[in-house]
Subunit: 192 residues, 3 copies
């Protein structure tokens, strides 16, 4: 076999070191906390590692976060049990976003135009009032626009328009979300 | 942000207390048991917490059950490893039902007509001789009629007709299940 | 209920014994090892249990392998975190294959033409330079031909042609993989 095929994707040493520190903090201070309490403590830990986390966010202790320094959350967001927040590139959640259990926000992929398959990545943005239902998957580079709903188990390859509903694999639009109490939406502009 | 947006879905105190007791029993008495034995013991624990469980049922210790008091199983049913039986509303399995590994029976959702996304739920019923293959997902309110087969990874949004086969996400009918030994089906009527 | 319906699928005693030994070795010697090191040690353990494992393979310690004696890997293959290699029948990976996190290689199923649903199984073959992306599922009997790409979360029911790209559930062809550096492919014929 030609030597290049032995190639293994490697992260810069600085990222490896930061990830090691984060792993230690995660397993000692974050993951062993009880699900129903210590929300503020978990927010604090994430902020110490560079995350921007708004008030009232609830992040389940079983949630996996690849790099807190690539995570930005507005107010009152929720990340549920066993979500995989694979943020090799930045992941941004605006306000009142819910990411349900076992969802997979995936910013990384491989360049398949080479037999070496080098790592590539692209940011994910989730705007305010979006709900990503259980076990959905969001591909690298996707933006979920305001108020849209990603159905359970949906696999989202492309941007989703505001207040639309997508389901399936790959996800397609199946409806428009009609909200009867939109007057409650008094979110200050420019949050996050 | 307007105060209602801070709203967090809360369960009644009585349900919270029951769930806490069940969590303790689950982690001490149910989950640490060996997969290949103590089937009767696990059935007993579930019955003590209000489940109706027929004879010969095999429930894997890694199976997650949200509320045993919302679970009803006929005879000779099997629930495999790491199934998530998320029964906020009742889940009923009739006779000789198999739920394969990592499947997700999901009775709960959110009402997306409100920006507050209040919790909603609806029961799931699985009739006799149904097989839900590995990593399938059943949505709230769905009935799987007698003898149908839900293919691995299928995502079922609507009722499935008797002895039909569905696959895909969302699941669609791909065939009819022809059984060559239906004479073996001598299940007493009215079970479960 | 007629007695046959009480039937439970059972493996031969010899397989049960081998699986018990493997489970002990797995939990004591394989699974507790660190992800970023001891690749050679994990290859050794697998070989001691009958696997054929080429040089440079990286097998994550959280990967589940049902039967090492039914696993054959060429050089420089990678099996990522929490992959379920459910090889009741043989699974063969040729050279430079990547199986990403939480993918499910499933060789077993049930014969649904009988109400007893006896276990059936069929081998999976993954040829050189294939990438199975995260959380994909490969059904029993499938061959993934050289250089193809199975998109994240795809559910593959049928063979995939060489250098093609499939996504979705069920998976369908969405493109041809064009590789710009195919000259690097100097894999000796007949490997694995």
């Amino acid at each position: 076999m030609s030597p290049p095929l032995k190639y293994v994707n490697r992260l810069p040493k600085s990222v490896q070191a930061a990830r090691l520190l984060w792993a230690i903090a995660y397993y000692l201070l974050f993951r062993p906390t009880p699900r129903w309490a210590l929300h503020g403590w978990r927010r604090l830990i994430l902020r110490l590692f560079g995350a921007s986390v708004g008030q009232g966010c609830r992040i389940d202790p079983s949630c996996k976060i690849w790099a807190p320094w690539n995570l930005s959350m507005g107010d009152y967001c929720a990340i549920a049990a066993n979500v995989d927040c694979y943020n090799v590139a930045p992941i941004t959640l605006q306000t009142k976003v819910a990411i349900s259990q076992r969802s997979f926000l995936c910013t990384a992929s491989h360049d398949i135009s080479s037999v070496l398959r080098p790592l590539i990545y692209s940011a994910i943005r989730v705007e305010s009032h979006v709900w990503v239902a259980a076990e959905a998957m969001i591909h690298p580079g996707v933006t979920l626009h305001e108020g849209c709903v990603v159905g359970a188990r949906a696999v989202v390859l492309r941007d989703v328009q505001p207040w639309s509903i997508v389901v399936g694999s790959p996800a397609t639009v199946v409806g428009i979300r009609k909200v009867t109490d939109k007057d409650l939406l008094q979110v200050p502009k420019g949050e996050v």
